[in-house]
């Protein structure tokens, strides 16, 4: 599997080694030492996955993430020093799709990228079919979420995939583990915050009032379900 990867990392040695490792996995790697440089590179050529270190000089990783997200639905992986801080949640809220912690294993990183690229392609045979809930219409086969009046709702591919999984079995509770597995490809010990933050992001797009969700409901201690 190949793809163009944008690596944003200020430490030159880490950047070089990441380039070597990811090129070894068959990716086309472009790197940037700062957020500003990354945005320029991103504007120049289409990027399949962006890998952003949160600790950057000047424009930090969160800002870089938000800037990318404003102009594109490109899958973003953030690189953070610690998994058990608010940084992860803040990064996800800034628009990231996934995260890895330093020091990461290149194989693990490659696997995360693979999972995102897989998801970035239109969903295949497990197509749930069109579903209408509230004033929204989900058309999985076309990769479209739109209002009934035809106006399209922009969401990232991860958000879209998550919505499709929930829509595939309406009114049925899906656990965080199931969603992590199906959407991100994580096993049982995947980070449930990925699901929680993405659900939150999704609600701001599909719920009339995100603080009082009517379609994407939390089932305490169990998981989430979609109610048309």
């Amino acid at each position: 599997m190949s793809g163009r990867i944008l690596v944003v990392e200020d430490d030159e040695r880490i950047r070089s080694s990441m380039r070597l490792a990811l090129e070894g996995e068959g990716y086309d790697v472009h790197d940037a030492a700062s957020g500003e440089e990354a945005l320029d590179l991103f504007a120049d050529a289409p990027t399949d996955v962006a890998l952003i270190d949160l600790m950057l000089p000047g424009m930090d990783g969160f800002e870089c993430c938000r800037a990318l997200r404003r102009q594109s639905a490109v899958p973003i992986i953030i690189v953070t020093a610690r998994a058990d801080t608010h940084d992860v949640v803040a990064g996800l809220e800034a628009g990231a799709d996934d995260y890895v912690t330093k020091p990461f294993v290149a194989k693990e990183l490659a696997a995360r990228i693979r999972a995102l690229l897989r998801r970035a392609r239109p969903p295949e045979e497990d197509d749930p079919g069109a579903l209408t809930f509230g004033t929204l219409q989900l058309l999985p086969e076309q990769g479209v979420l739109r209002h009934l009046d035809g106006e399209e709702v922009h969401c990232t591919r991860t958000e879209f995939r998550l919505l499709c999984e929930l829509a595939a079995s309406p009114n049925k509770v899906l656990s965080r583990e199931q969603l992590l597995d199906r959407v991100w490809g994580y096993d049982y010990f995947g980070d449930g915050r990925l699901v929680d933050v993405h659900i939150r992001r999704l609600r701001t797009k599909v719920e009339p009032d995100p603080t009082l969700p009517r379609h994407i409901l939390t089932v305490r201690g169990m998981g989430y379900k979609l109610v048309p």
Partner: protein
């Protein structure tokens, strides 16, 4: 435990020193009250007595002189032969509490049978017969009744007049007064004791505050400070210096924790480069010459070990700095343990034998609040520990403990490292009891004397019992204790039935699965409790949706 700063003394210290400061203050108050009340009481008693006796003596003299004057005039006017002194005495105006006696022409006469001339003190009689008036107080009779005897010579008629006054009423009064004063003294002393007690409590109260603060600080609450009372100039010094000490302590601890954290953190960047570069080399492993392959393998093994150590150190320093976030999530305990064992065995490598997972009675429906990532680390560390020291884990058991169970509160593994990490918060299973997860190995077991140390940092078992080349960071079990305590659980070590070691984690039960919708536990009810579910890493009760995730084999 001997206080190293205590000066050794020969023999027992004096009694005074053995009293607590509170007891000493109270004793001082008691002794003060005792001395004060009894000196004041004694003074009042003797003053009163002196005054009352003097008054009675003066009254007695007055009466005796008046009677003597009357007698002299009577005796000088009447016929000496016809005079009957006894009648004369009887006619005198004597008070009810006095008796008179007369020695007339050498013969004694008395107004009362109880009084005879012989009972008048000889000294007094001689003095009066010698021609001078005299007064004497004395005690007489079996009951030693106090009396005043007044003697008045009447030389013109060759007579001497004596009058004896009983002081028994005065004696009674004084006795009552004495008793009242003693009672007052006792009451005052008791009040003094109570006051002393109150004062010592009052003055020691700040010390109790200091003690509480010290305990809190020792327990890790470094932001504890003594409240300063600016009105109390005596305590300001203590409060200020105590708080200054804690400030300094906190700064040092934080500096140290930050240093640890910074060191581990700084190590991550080169580690990231190293591990990424290593993987590039490993991808070309087969094209390298054999010597380079061996070197690469050594490099790889130690790099991963180093990486794990840095990870563990960082985890530890975060815990020390108190900057940990715990993401508790309610999960089914059986699934959790199965999954954690699977994940732990995966990281141990293919040659390791998977332990049997034994589910006890009634545990299938139990749900616990855990941080899954931490639990995974705990299980991985326990399995790794068993592999390194006990020849690999043999059994992982899950047992339910009802609420209010006894005898499990013993935390054998309470770390002796002073920060109480192993003991954890003392959450006795609330309401629903606890679930115990035990990991057993087949090794030599852990010496009871060493059980308190295994949860200490960098503790390593005896070299003889170690397998392999020590790939652990030495922080594994310390981190287990840390993680478990963050999840409100406890950890301990005991003997496994097989003779090996058994490390037990007890976690409070959050809820039970009675309201389960059946999605998670579709097969669980088919198996009998206590059954052995060892076998393939894919446990039979895999949840719905295990559609072979193709991205999860990393």
């Amino acid at each position: 435990m001997a206080d190293p700063t205590a000066v050794p003394t020969a023999g027992r210290p004096p009694f005074w020193r053995r009293l607590g400061i509170g007891a000493r203050i109270t004793s001082i108050f008691v002794l003060g009250a005792l001395a004060l009340s009894f000196s004041m009481g004694g003074l009042s008693y003797f003053t009163t007595r002196h005054f009352l006796v003097a008054e009675r003596v003066s009254a007695a003299q007055h009466q005796a002189f008046a009677n003597a004057t009357l007698l002299r005039s009577t005796l000088s006017t009447i016929n000496k032969q016809s005079a009957n002194p006894s009648n004369l005495l009887a006619s005198l105006d004597a008070g009810s509490n006095s008796h008179s006696a007369l020695i007339y022409n050498g013969k004694p006469y008395s107004s009362s049978l109880s009084l005879s001339a012989s009972s008048i003190p000889i000294g007094l009689r001689d003095a009066v017969l010698g021609g001078s008036a005299a007064t004497q107080t004395y005690r007489e009779g079996a009951q030693s009744l106090p009396q005043i005897a007044v003697g008045v010579p009447i030389p013109s008629v060759h007579a001497a007049y004596f009058e004896v006054f009983s002081l028994s009423d005065l004696d009674h009064t004084l006795r009552v007064l004495g008793l009242a004063l003693i009672a007052a003294g006792i009451v005052t002393t008791l009040l003094g004791a109570a006051l002393g007690r109150f004062a010592s409590d009052r003055s020691l109260r700040p010390l109790a505050g200091v003690s509480r603060a010290a305990v809190a600080i020792a327990g890790g609450q470094l932001d504890t400070r003594l409240k300063s009372d600016p009105a109390d100039s005596d305590l300001v010094g203590l409060t200020t210096s105590f708080n200054a000490m804690v400030d300094e302590l906190q700064v040092r601890i934080e500096r140290e924790a930050r240093f640890n954290s910074d060191v581990s953190h700084e190590l991550r960047s080169p580690l990231t480069t190293l591990s990424a570069s290593l993987e590039v080399l490993e991808a070309d492993h087969d094209t390298l010459p054999p010597r380079a392959q061996s070197a690469l393998q050594l490099l790889g093994e130690d790099l991963r070990r180093f990486q794990r150590m840095v990870g563990d150190l960082l985890e530890m320093s975060r815990a020390d700095a108190g900057s940990v976030d715990v993401f508790l999530q309610e999960v089914n305990v059986c699934e959790l343990v199965q999954r954690a064992v699977d994940a732990g065995m995966r990281s141990l490598g293919e040659e390791a034998a998977r332990p049997r997972v034994v589910l006890g009675e009634g545990v299938r429906s139990l749900r616990v609040d855990v941080d899954k990532r931490r639990f995974e680390r705990v299980m991985a560390n326990l399995l790794e520990n068993a592999a390194n020291y006990g020849g690999g884990a043999t059994v992982v058991s899950v047992t339910a403990l009802a609420a209010g169970h006894g005898g499990v509160g013993v935390v054998d593994g309470a770390a002796g490292n002073g920060d109480g990490t192993a003991a954890g918060a003392d959450h006795a299973g609330p309401g629903l009891g606890e679930v115990e997860i035990g990991v057993e190995d087949d090794g030599p077991g852990i010496d009871p004397l060493e059980r308190s140390k295994v949860f200490e940092r960098f503790f390593r078992g005896p070299v003889s019992g170690r397998r392999g080349t020590g790939t652990g960071s030495g922080l594994g079990l310390a981190l287990v204790a840390e993680h478990v305590s963050l999840m409100h659980g406890r950890v301990r070590v005991e003997d496994a039935p097989s003779g090996g070691a058994r490390i037990v984690i007890a976690i409070p039960v959050a809820t039970t699965d009675d309201a389960s919708d059946g999605t998670d536990e579709s097969n669980a009810s088919d198996e009998s409790d206590g059954s052995d579910t060892s076998g393939a890493p894919d446990a039979p009760d895999a949840p719905v949706g295990s559609d072979a995730p193709d991205g999860s084999e990393w």
